[in-house]
Amino acid sequence: MNESVVLDKVTKTHGLVKAVDHVSLSIQSGEFFSVLGPSGSGKTTILRLIAGLDRPDQGDIVIQQRVVTLDPPHKRPVNMVFQHYALFPHLSVFENVAFGLRMKGESQAMTQKAVSQMLALVRLQGKEKRLPGHLSGGEQQRVALARALVNRPIVLLLDEPLAALDQQLRQEMQGELKRLQREVKATFICVTHQQDEALMLSDRIAVMQGGKVLQVGTPREIYDCPVSSTVAQFIGLSNVLSGTIAHCEDGLCRVEHEVLAPVKVVCSPHDSLQGAVTVMVRPERVHVSSDMSANGYDNMFTAIVHQVVFSGNEVVYHVRLRGEVIWIARVPIAEARARPLTVGQPVYVQWRAQEGLVLPAHSTPC
């Protein structure tokens, strides 16, 4: 498969802050690639570097086997959807979408045709003459997409494309983005701080923090095998225990915690972990019940139900283990209905050894 965009040891500083610090990424053509990270992690800078709006201090950017590091934005086969869309407020929807074609000097007939097609693709027919200020948030989003896609970019950059939309519209637009990508067959690079969005949309995800890429992988890889506790915590709510490895045998480790009884975790053989580690268990893998189940759970602790949060299709229990350790368990609604738990009730918290993840406590980004 050929590479669409390659970042080679790219560094960009804003004043004293290294917004992007020696980042190397290789994005395949036709891929939906997400850059996930908290605000200030440098993800927007990555987009601006690819678009050519900023120039890197060091490193190279390659688009379609061509080094474009020093090229101005209008010489790159790349277009961007800005965070708040940045639609031109004095131009109609039609003129906004036509802007790129006009800059290229396309004929009036060709522009007319391409813009109409694009507006049909994003389902905005009949709104050509409106000004952006008279459109809803979702419609503005579609105009921004059309304005970028009408130029047939090889790479489409999306900066927090759904952040400004309300929940229902967001879900609608997620499907819409996937559909658009299939139809225009471009590489989509999307920056977001919403892990669910990244997991749902992406073919691959790069997790960033402090200007560095912590991990690149498919949503599954990132979710199931995070390389560090930072990634794990960022990609989904996790239960965390820090402790020390006491004993490892046949891929099964005993991790000692200062208050709790030792925790059993499965270790992959290629990990050579020693000393201080972090054990993580995803909330949906934690079993909470008022009686001791005999289903072969390797770890079992007693706890008190601290809080019960109902969220429609599931119930989230916050339970307090010994030593004020709060543990979170997500239980499907059917199960929670069958065996309801109430605040203050003593319970057993259990999980299997293979459902825990053991990571070095102070993991360094790869």
Partner: protein, 265 residues
């Protein structure tokens, strides 16, 4: 503001009266048939008719309009450019530049007039239209820059980024994005500058030469030979024209395209 206490309402009415009563009386007297004093002797248009026939006044009015147009036009070209240049600079340089720029608007006009005259005499510049236009630009330029910069600061930098991303060169960005979005401010500055130039007396008084009499200078010289109803009529015309211009200037700045890029929904 939901409900104003009635005492404030009375106060604001009194202030309006205080501000506009002289103007109203002046306009009223310009229709007074009496040649002397303020006693009402009946309604007449004769002073306006006389005004329209007075070659000296018409010539001065034409001078004023030409000077106002030229000084405003040149101030616009230089001012818009300067404003755009200043807004792209770093923040630190801005604060003292701000100070220096508005200085001509706050130092006493008489000093400005004397200083300008000294410069012209030193450089041996012939006093006339040119010197008046330059003199008016000294206050028209800061005016333009202040108004245009205020608008520039409200423009979202993402618009420029978006335009560049869509293939716009710096020139395209200027002509298709920045200037169209600045249009209300440019019109506002133009109308205001035109008015200020039209009405200026002090600076003009110092830097004018023979044969370059403007309307305010004409009014002044007429008053020296005695107050006539014709002056009332001329003043009334000037007041109405000025107020129309300023009103228009305000209106175009209000009725501008929304500058926020975030939807109002």
């Amino acid at each position: 503001m939901k409900r104003m206490p009635s005492s404030f309402l009375v106060m604001s009415l009194l202030v309006m009266l205080f501000l506009y009563l002289p103007v109203v009386i002046l306009i009223g007297l310009s229709f007074n048939a009496s040649t002397m004093g303020v006693a009402w002797k009946g309604f007449t248009f004769q002073w306006y008719e006389k005004l329209a026939m007075d070659q000296g006044i018409l010539e001065a009015a034409l001078n004023s309009v030409v000077i106002a147009l030229l000084s405003t036009g040149m101030a616009l070209i230089l001012g818009v450019g300067t404003a755009i240049g200043l807004e792209t600079r770093q923040k630190r340089q801005r604060s003292w530049v701000n100070m220096i720029l508005v200085l001509p608007l706050v130092i006493p006009e008489i000093l400005l007039g004397v200083a300008l005259l000294m410069v012209f005499v030193l450089c041996q510049v012939h006093l006339g239209f040119g010197t008046i236009i330059i003199g008016h630009m000294v206050f028209n330029l800061p005016l333009t820059i202040v108004i245009v910069r205020a608008r520039l600061r409200k423009l979202d930098p993402a618009w420029e980024d978006a335009a560049r991303d869509l293939g716009a060169t710096p020139w395209d960005v200027l002509t298709r994005i920045t200037l169209p979005l600045l249009r209300p401010a440019i019109w506002g500055a133009a109308l205001l500058g035109f008015t200020v130039s039209l009405d200026d007396f002090v600076v003009t008084f110092f830097v004018a030469g023979p044969g370059s009499t403007t309307l305010p200078l004409k009014v002044f010289s007429m008053i020296k030979t005695g107050m006539t109803p014709e002056i009332n009529a001329l003043s009334a015309v000037m007041v109405v024209v000025s107020m129309l211009c300023v009103g228009l200037s305000w209106a175009v700045q209000q009725r501008s395209t929304p500058v926020s890029s975030v939807s109002s929904y």
